[in-house]
């Protein structure tokens, strides 16, 4: 589903990705862990080309993203992204946040888009919040709307960049529940997270990143119980 080969990315002199290789199969849930600044967000953002890599390739479902002939907007429609800080559109209601992309991009008719949006709001447990503005929602509710907004484009892949890091602890669970449901439905997911419990329970594979490289990758069980790389061991001893 996603194949990343030899991905390099620098910001000025700072080399952030130093040759990333990985493959993600359809319906797989891959969690990415690692210390802050190790390049996790940058990797995720290269997958939907919010950042342009310096070299290397990203291939999604047979489409080479880095090729100049690729219509990146088309590809992004297939790749949903959920941000740490939600980035909901504050000038639109939750329902409008969800219908906007299908209406604007796919020219879905409004009634149809609304029906899908209500369905998605029910799925994330916010049926009663269709008519409110993002400012009136709690952090956990905002993030659930953001997930619904991304799902409205019916993506094949979902990218999550620390979706619960900006939340008060009591709201983390409700967002993780929604993500678990999504994983159960067979969504292909790349999840950058500090929630080791989630990685263990839902992740089929865990990638440990440090200083721009995938240092170790394995099943959650192996990574958490028998980490082989000393850097993984050090990191896990701090967070677990």
């Amino acid at each position: 589903m996603i194949t990343i080969k030899n991905l390099y990315k620098s910001f000025g002199k700072l080399q952030v990705l130093k040759g990333i290789n990985c493959h993600i199969s359809p319906q797989e849930v891959v969690c990415i862990i690692g210390p802050s600044g190790s390049g996790k967000s940058t990797l995720l953002r290269c997958v939907n080309q919010l950042e342009k890599p310096d070299s290397g390739t990203v291939n999604i479902d047979g489409i080479e993203l880095t090729s100049p002939n690729t219509d990146i907007n088309k590809v992004r429609q297939q790749v949903g992204m959920v941000f740490q800080h939600f980035n909901l559109f504050p000038h639109r209601t939750t329902l409008e946040n969800i219908t906007m992309a299908p209406v604007v991009i796919k020219k879905t008719n409004k009634a149809g888009a609304q029906q899908i949006a209500r369905e998605l709001l029910r799925k994330v447990g916010l049926s009663d919040k269709d008519d409110v503005y993002p400012a009136q929602l709690s952090g956990g509710q905002k993030q659930r709307v953001a997930i619904a907004r991304a799902l409205a484009m019916q993506p094949k892949v979902m990218l999550f960049d620390e979706p619960t890091s900006a939340l008060d602890p009591e709201m983390v669970g409700e967002v993780l529940e929604v993500m678990k449901d999504l994983a159960k439905e067979g969504m292909t997911m790349m999840v950058v997270t500090h929630e080791m419990g989630f990685a263990r329970e839902v992740g089929q594979r865990v990638l440990f990143m440090d200083e721009g490289l995938i240092v170790e990758e394995n099943t959650p069980q192996q990574i958490f119980e028998n980490p082989t790389n000393p850097r993984t061991q050090t990191f896990l001893s701090k967070v677990l």
Partner: protein, 235 residues
Amino acid sequence: MQFWHLNIFAINILQPILDSNGFQLVIHNMGNFLHGTLLTLEITALSVLFGMFLGLLAALLKMSRYKVLSIPGILYIDFFRGTPLFVQILLFYFGILPLVFDATSFEAAVIVCSLNSGAYIAEIVRAGIQAVDKGQMEAARSLGMNNFQAMWHVILPQAYKIVIPPMVNEFIAMLKDTSLVAVIGAEELTHSGRILVSVTYEAAWIWGTVALIYLLLTRALSMLGDYLERRLATE
């Protein structure tokens, strides 16, 4: 006691003014002042209206990643902000427009003022767009919107609130600056003043009235601006 004071004021100060030749002239020529005022408002309104389209376009051009787009945007904005409006008026009326078509002084005034206003509005719009959180553009693009769709549906609707107060200031500045088009004989308030002074020789009265009218207009606009700002703040 108070009435008595008022009486003294009316007889000794007000009455001589009302009787003065200058005041009578101002009253008598009120129609000319109003005509000039209307044209001033018309030129200003048209210029700011066209300026908004030009400004939005120029701002988007200037922010483009592509040099073929950004360079024309930058050149346009820099030229009209970096040269005096007075010179622009002369250059276009006497130099450039005659090569293109036979513009009346009113048309020339609107064209030059629109171009000038557009350059200032471009910078206002650009500042407004840049004040919108970067995550908004990223969220829109990550959904698959192209740059234009993201601008139109996500960024601009949020930028407009930031843009309104400086836009009101631009409107006020333009209203005052249109006085410069009197030099090419475009009929507006300052031009009316010039004509009236040349036939009456009452410079103090006529120019005083012209100044007062400008002051009333700019005050009214800035009150409107304050009102809008307060309404946006509570929204």
